[in-house]
Symmetry: D4
């Protein structure tokens, strides 16, 4: 409700076109319609079609099921991340369509199929051990309605493997790079492609890896411009940001 | 050289149209024309128009001037980051058009004016002390040909200041959020806008800030989806990535 | 009491000016009145009514039960924190009134009911996964005789949820803010209320969260004045400090 | 403006007691008066009398002077922290009443004298080197209208010095404990007083002190209940929180 | 395929010994055979005899078995590191010759026996608890065709034990030093031998050891020249680098 | 072999009492008897009576038993630290006199009873959860022949408990202070006694304790002179050093 | 003295069984005898002869001079550590006998010469760059009345240098080992001598040294028993603790 | 003194050619000639021709000059690292042949020219800012008698630059890789060459670089086998180890 609409409303009262109770009702809601908060709501309205996301770690099986039970009353797709099988089984009981990606630990419920984008997200990973994060990013990208292509096991230790897949990486609109250990893959790809690169450090490694710290710091200090970083093992976050970019017009 | 061209070449040999020495010479060069490396070069061709970037920190004044001297022979715009005034003066001597942003510590040389994008990058910052990083991001965005709008001093300690600027933030195609101390602004904006947010932790703060670590960790662990992070004080990196996204079609 | 006064007192006894009981009373308190220790004791006397607190982690089931067995001979309320169910069962055997908060992992024994304060403590939390810390803070506040109100799941990723509960938060005499990940909620609330805020970082999160470090550092470097911080996951400490403040006159 | 007032306003329009322009003007401001944002503003209104605070570090001398120049047009007291002498001199030029605490590095401008509270804040410090933080806390407490008493050089290495001052510490309504090195003073006082203790770790020390980390971690893990912590060297934050508590009724 | 072979191929076409289709097929693969990438391949060709290495941690039993199944079709030796017994059993089923070093957690498959080098690698370790890393380094060295001698339990706490074995250490061409706790052994040996020393910090220890950090930092800051360092517990990396050096001519 | 014995040997050659070959054999071994290394051995000879110590963590049950089996052939007392019950049972089978301290996780075998010292070591601990470290220190002190007195549960949160035991602490020749959390007890005792204090940080605590780091840093930066520190949870090290000091003459 | 005893005493006065002087004597000492404070005082009495110590860092020149001015009115020796030359000059003006050790940065004032002990403290250091810490430890030891011998430049990189001085090290009653970088010297000496070793990590080094952290962690995790550690660069602390041990009888 | 010489000595006694006193004297010195220590010395004898190395940081100008003054009396080459110009000038005064590498901060004095090796060390660096470390490594390699080739500015952000120099890198006998920021160059080269790679992390970078930590951790956790690491900025250490390997036969 902008200034002009407000004027119309007030004149409606003056001219007895609108009675006080009606006006009162409208104006009472004002903050939820036209202002800060309202925008928030509008904002969420616009997000209809977006999946509702549940971060399952640290929640009980009962909590996860109850949240899903509530969510499926709305018409959105649902994505549960960091879910274990027990959680999935509980969800499955109340929603037969729920699917589980064991490696990626995601539960997905598709209430409406989104048509995939034409452009695609390339999800590039260094090694086999990074696959759980790849899967989380992939499931996130998919349920958000993106075409996504996985290119795995192209770590820099054997850089020819990477070069042989460079075409498909360069063809993407946005690239997710997933790597543990020293995370060098992000810098190398950042230097080879002209698209936004979202780097995901993984906790793959041992010793001086310190739970993913080595890859995290390396990616943050990358000498290649165009690389931004999400939290260690955060496949979901990478998929979500990549989707925003991939769906830009 | 694609499969077809290769076939032609080989048949040329067979038919004695090309002699072995000539063919040998061509095939020897193969990898630099049609493959990995060639692609790298093509890739750089496409990037003509992009500014050449010099990270001045750790370089001597002479080194900076010499690099610029070489670069201006090419027809690109030039961006020098983390440059001190002495460096600027040395560059100014060889290139009268060089400009210096004292706060942002950038040298810019515009050899050709790029038309600004219609869409814009919002550069949002928490406090006055974050301004140097704001300026670095802004100069980067500008020289890459973007419209960019600065919204500063909207830290979460007085959140109404942020809300009064929310429209302009939401109108952007991509948002850069710059904050030191606890970096909460990134999460708050991440929860309020539906655009990619690039968060820049700054080293503003003291004590448990540990040179920007507090804001860095906070931004990486943001509870808002859609937030990616660059290195502490890395205004350039944020501006560069934001430009890639802002110029998407 | 100096040497001269002491001499006077003793001569008073000798001369029958002061009878033994009177002198006894004065001298008895001597070490406990005039010096550190006495004050300590007085202090503890004043604290009667306060619960005795047992930090159960790192203790054996037998140790916990034995400590409770001794404590219930005194007339105080008892609070055991970080207690597992096995400990509770052992305590239950010797004290039928013992209650267990499974989520908060607290054992409480109320030997005397304290009337709740009129003013209240607001316990605000960002997400579902923070609930165990909420419960620990709540049980601590309750057994210390405070009215306490829980406002949960109001993380900054959906800041409208927070605003819709702002009245009840602002109505409190002191506010406990519990958040993991980036802990931005503490700064946001600190900027919105004019009451002391006690921030509790939680270990909720993963990767760059480093066991709660991200929220801890963020809360310590909060840009909002009026925020103080306790240890990671320390719901008890927050509840205890908040009670001191809430019961001020 | 509550529902009732809103109704009166609307009926005023209807009855032609208020014309549309007047009503429009009032309603336009609505969000800043009666709602989310309005509460923020009301909140700030209530804070009249509170000093405006400028964190000077990372600002230029010009920026500090300009901020003060704007602030003194309002009728509030002003507190500048982490200010150097050059900043003070610049401020002094535009405001003759400005005072500088060299040790505490604070600039204070008292536009109106607040009557001191009856209850007092005890500011207890371990060593001589902690005095700058003591002074910052003291100036903050004073300009906020509190009675404050400094008890310094009572570190635990000579614990009898602490005990000889215990009475005055216990007489306070809230206690600020400032200590560097191992920060043990916070735990010791926390165990001796029954008042909220706000602990300020300082960067005093060397080696394994790591810029105040040792005292910070020690205070956060204090075995004494009732201790909350602010950032390293954050005398202002401690003074501000203590003032909130000291002025409680 | 070197220049000579290429010439032969081309002349084969010319002379109709090879038809175009056959040549095409071969040359299509050219980049993977003779040039940039080819060099990589040549490089790998040269490495024939080298074992294929699988880092088993973070892989499933099925993944490990499938990788081995593929590898044994080639004629190379195979080394699996960080393998558990379940993995070994799965591999054993498809390859009866697989051997398991329980302590070192390695699976080795020798398709061809390499003659040991004359010179040898000395693998020196401080304590009994370092033996798993010793065994990993030893198995790596052996399968790469090196003579290797283990000298264990010669930690600096009883330095005479080290001196009594100094001859055999000095006789080596390259020395691996494996130590946890404070890792002093690397510096001591570095000061006593005139050969390259590869230091392996181990995670043996507790408390301020922080998972091997103490030994890691100590070895990196060694006052003895000639010491280089690999990751914590990285026996494989040490064995691999030592093999390169030991086989130099 | 001292100078005198050497002279006798050489005269034996001169007088033909010993032939050259015999002398050669003896002198060849010289370095292990009389010199550098010999001194080491002498040193160890002097240490007869000292227990042999086995650090059991990271060793297998078989390794522990085998080491003990070898050691009991010598006439020394034996101390095993960080031993689990399975290890103890294995040792018990080959040595019926072996004793196990379950809390302290020590195995002790007394082949000869040492008379206790007259002076004693005070082992002071903050809380119940520190008891395992207390027991390890105590068992170490005992088997080395020291009188040792335990004073536990005297943490600074209730400092009167400490003062009531101050006499016995001050009566000691050396004091071990064991504390987790913020480790303040070391500084407080260091300021109250005039004896060497050996501080043992423990891993007791959570959150910002970071596995004992808070107490470790606090003890290292103690403001009380006369405090030295050993590794986190290192009761053995404290007991060993204290014994050296306690047995000084 | 409990309540009953106190009653008996008072009735003794009343009944003239005890005279006032006797009672006075007993009661007079009460607070100073039976409780903490008296003991503290007694303790300080015993310490007469000990130097007063001033940690000068973080103090102003005026503060240092004023503290010294007060101290020299008492008859004790004075030690100032971390003092710069300006401080020394100020002290020199009020006390002509003050001496300055430029390398060790100590000010010493000897009001009474203490006879040196017969036994001695060995102060062993790895390299030339550690000398400032050596000097601080040496000056501390001297002013406390100890014989002390410096053995420098015996780092483990050339271990024969250490062995050639082993006799004088072993002859000491207590050994201080000062080393930066990897700090291996502490472990090596700890394995060679049968005396308490006090290890001082220094901040000598660069990179992964992290301001002395590498040596600190290494010394804390030393594999040699009998080693305790003080803070980085804390020559004073080592000298003070060593003096306590050296003067034991 | 070897076995044969020993036999001669003993027979000399028997035959009265040497008297007992003379023999005694010789044999007393034995350990410094023939055994453990002797070997150390022999070892150093073998190292004649090696330069004497002085780490100048933390030393005074006088100390550096005095050490050089002593060293030039021996006939070895001399290398001073981390030397400033003032040190060089002082050295120049006593040794006219001294040379200074300003970028690498090395002083070199060549008393005898060593013929360069045929094989060479490749010193590869990522960026211009890494040049000081390149120079330190280069000077070290040269004075140790190695042929060394510098390949600089080949960071992974423009990987084609690296590929165009790959031949010269692969031609080396050992490769030093010097890189700051994320240090990815080490992994990439490690995957492309079949020679030992010595990685030197540099402190080039800012923010999350944490003084070289990011590159250090990245290099330690490299996914490429054959990479070992030295301390941050340690060009000397890399040059020294590389020399050992390059000079192997």
């Amino acid at each position: 409700m902008n200034k002009e609409e407000l004027k119309v409303l007030l004149e409606g009262i003056k001219n007895n076109k609108i009675n006080v109770e009606e006006a009162l009702e409208k104006l009472e809601d004002l903050p939820f319609e036209d202002l800060g908060f309202a925008k928030i709501d509008n904002f969420r309205e616009l997000r209809v079609g977006y999946p509702e996301v549940i971060y399952c770690e640290g929640k009980t099986v009962d909590q996860v099921r109850d949240i899903v039970k509530y969510m499926i009353t709305k018409n959105n797709n649902i994505l549960g991340t960091r879910a274990n099988e027990e959680m999935y089984n509980a969800v499955k009981e109340i929603c037969i369509d729920a699917e589980y990606n064991k490696l990626g630990r995601t539960i997905t419920i598709k209430k409406k199929e989104l048509p995939d984008t034409e452009s695609y997200i390339a999800i590039v990973a260094a090694g086999t051990s990074d696959l759980p994060v790849v899967e989380e990013a992939f499931e996130t990208a998919k349920i958000l309605g993106n075409k996504a292509i996985k290119i795995t096991d192209v770590g820099v230790a054997g850089i020819h493997r990477l070069f042989s897949r460079l075409d498909v990486i360069r063809g993407a609109k946005v690239v997710i790079v997933i790597a543990g250990m020293e995370g060098a893959l992000a810098s190398v790809i950042g230097g080879l492609v002209d698209k936004p690169v979202i780097a995901v450090p993984t906790s793959v490694g041992y010793g001086a890896n310190f739970g993913g710290l080595s890859a995290l710091l390396a990616m943050l200090t990358s000498c290649s411009a165009g690389v931004t970083v999400v939290n260690i093992d955060n496949g979901f976050g990478a998929g979500f940001s990549a989707s925003m970019i991939n769906q830009m017009k």
